[in-house]
């Protein structure tokens, strides 16, 4: 679409919105009245079956004025080191039915009760231009109070993980252009976006919303059970502080205090991954945290990449299991003409950073979930490999 046409289209849509608005004034007045009387929004609704067509039906997140607000008892959380998803920022939340609690585990995802709803909203700080979004690690201006500031961010998609009687189900929702609601997109979606850096650099890519089966591509972490599981809500990922409206607090402590989590030790005694961006922490800890959360859900002894015997989850010893001097198994052209997954001291001769630095399906790793290269991630893993001792000698 040419810029002129796009402008015209926007103008027309705005005109229609005005007409609709005029017609809706009466209804809005009634709603305002209701809101004034009732005050509290509708509570979160757990659907034990089916696939609601709109995200708003769950009442987990809702557009309120210029903000995306979290409903009552919907708890936001962050991870020490997150999965890279094309530089998207993420708002993660968890909600448990009143009177229920999740059981703590030191290694696995917490054991959540039926009725749990986990959400992850992918968004970007806005940038000038149609389809343009900012490539930025500055999260400080994303929020306005406890909600996302929609004047500053563009919502892309919200993925729900819902714990039902038969297990977890994954539901992807894509936000509409007006940012008023998100619609179920079982078969995924594709959005042309342009990343704009602070220095003016531009990168076009297609943002791919996964289909339900692709959700399972990461969230089925055990090929034998083939069931979907959360990834982020493990002790080592969430053992960190969050700036709650009532003040900063460790997330494990907060969830425990709220009754959402039971059986957790004091946060100081729980496992904790490094923050990959915090260069006061050891290089190895940051690299291992990065590999754990970006690769370890497939590359584990039970995950779908166990066909390769290459494991990146947190307990893997620093030897051939982690790829040191290990010949690839089914990499095909993904080798980049290199002989081993990791050659200690030589990132330029190692397959791992080569595949991370590609955005081509068939070469790139992870296989899905990104259409851009995570430059800072490649730099971190390369620096770690460069510092590894040893050699792949006979």
């Amino acid at each position: 679409m040419s810029p002129t046409l796009a402008r015209i289209g926007r103008a027309l849509r705005a005109a229609v919105a005005l007409v609709l608005l005029a017609g809706a004034v009466g209804a809005a007045a009634a709603m305002v009245f209701l809101a004034a009387c009732a005050r509290a929004p509708a509570p979160v609704r757990f659907f034990p079956e089916g696939r609601p067509q709109h995200l708003s039906e769950w009442h987990v997140l809702a557009r309120q004025g210029a903000r995306l607000e979290l409903n009552d008892r919907v708890v936001p959380y962050d991870l020490n080191t997150p999965l890279f998803s094309d530089y998207a920022h993420k708002l993660r939340t968890v909600w448990l039915p009143p009177g229920t609690t999740a059981r703590y585990s030191a290694t696995d995802p917490f054991d959540f009760p039926v009725g749990t709803i986990i959400s992850k909203t992918f968004y970007y700080p806005r940038a000038a231009g149609a389809g343009a979004v900012a490539r930025s690690y500055d999260f400080s201006r994303d929020f306005s109070g406890p909600g996302l500031d929609l004047a500053r961010v563009r919502l892309i998609e919200t993925r729900l993980l819902v714990r039902r009687q038969e297990g977890w189900v994954a539901l992807p929702y894509v936000w509409n252009a007006a940012q008023t609601d998100a619609e179920l997109a079982r078969t995924g979606d594709e959005l042309p976006l342009e990343l704009v850096s602070a220095d003016g650099g531009h990168e076009s890519f297609t943002y791919v919303v996964p289909n339900e089966n692709q959700c399972a591509g990461c969230h089925v972490t055990n090929l034998k059970t083939r069931s979907i599981a959360p990834i982020g809500l493990k002790a080592r990922h969430v053992n960190r502080d969050y700036a709650y409206p009532g003040g900063r607090e460790n997330q494990l402590d907060y969830l425990t205090r709220l009754g959402y989590l039971s059986g957790a030790p004091p946060a100081a005694d729980a496992p904790r991954n490094a923050n990959w961006l915090d260069d006061t922490q050891p290089l190895e800890a940051r690299a291992r945290a990065y590999l754990d959360v970006n690769c370890g859900h497939c590359h584990s002894p039970t995950g779908p990449a166990n066909t390769t015997s290459l494991t990146f989850d947190t307990g893997t010893p620093v030897d051939r299991h982690l790829g040191l001097c290990k010949p690839p198994v089914a990499a095909g052209r993904g080798t980049g003409d290199h002989l081993f997954d990791i050659v200690p001291g030589h990132p330029e001769a190692s397959i791992l950073p080569f595949r991370m630095a590609s955005r081509e399906p068939g070469v790139m790793m992870p296989e899905q979930g990104r259409g851009t290269v995570h430059r800072e991630g490649v730099a971190l893993i390369s620096a770690w490999i460069a510092a590894l001792p040893g050699a792949c000698s006979p």
């Binding site: 078969t187 779908p304 066909t307 051939r320 089914a330 095909g332 993904g334 000698s393």
Partner: protein
Amino acid sequence: MRQFGVVCVCVCVAACGQRNTATHPTGLSADEAAFQKRLQEQFLDAKPGTVIEIPPGRHALDRVLTLRANGVTIRGAGADKSILSFKNEISGPEGLLVYGNDFTIANLSIEDTKGDGLKINDGENITIRGVRVAWTAGPQTTNGAYGIYPVRSRNVLIENSASYGASDAGIYVGQSLNVIVRHCHAEQNVAGIEIENTINADVHDNEAVGNTGGILVFNMPNLSQPGHSTRVFKNTVKANNLGNFAAKGAAVASVPAGSGVVVNSNSKVEIFDNDIGNNQTANLIISAYFSTNYYNKPGIDPHYDPYPRAIYVYDNRFAGGGDSPDGLELKTLKVAMFGINGHFPDILWDGYRDEKNLVNGIPPAAERICVNNGAATVLNADGPHKYKNPTTDMAPYRCELPKLAPVELPART
């Protein structure tokens, strides 16, 4: 008023057409995008008993089709009629990715995937029949690795299927148990048909022609299981002389062009009643992991067995071949031993054997390489000593091994 009506129509188009325009980010037409959406929904909704029909036509898709259900059948109207084309693939990298037992796929083609064509991971009772996987621009390093790729699966039947142009192996069965590959055709791949780390496989009545290597039986280190017990019989393995176009480091990058049947580090392999000819390095190669470029101590499981053991070769029909081996070392060896116009014997053994396990200087009876194949002879290339003392003495191979039992699969439709 008239003007207002026009405006209304425009608004509707702008608002409604937003998500379904012809300018799909990956170049699919609106019809193709709609077809893909419907097909994806069928894959999402599949449950035991579901049959997904692929109608005739060439269907452009831009995203992997993933199946996560047992008891599903996917079938087309014929490999030449129902074609799934992944030329515009943006998310995959496979064409079809299957997690499910009791799975059947039949009578369709998968083309130009960025990664593997058809991958089946950890399935039981798998039937692949009349499936053709192809990279239509011919052999290219940028083609996907594997055409038809069941891995860590049990009870696998691949028949009347074909692969063209895979940058690793056309038909590749890895880390599996009880496998039959029959009546298939593999051409223009690096490896035509490869059985790797698999227990109990029958590979018969196939054609492997015009690949870098025809039929491979390999064991790689570090994997879930070492393979053994593969029978290769009644196949036609001819003129596999295509230059190796695998990326370096790929498992098959070390296979010399001109390899007919190759056994590497595997054991209990029986090769009989095949027509093997005009493979210019050698019609049959038996080798150890040391002959690949990949051996190194820290990267290899110390329990890995790199030696081929109990290899039984008999009653094959060899013709031609061995006349133009790939690689300087083999070329030099050939000329030195057999002259410019000569050729290697039909069977080339790299000479690596487990020196710690010899009885009176030869391997125990159950672990030997036995050849009972008329006039066919063996060249022991003396790889361990850099080809210093190659020999053609046949005495070490005059032996017999117990024959392997046929692979039996549970009955299927």
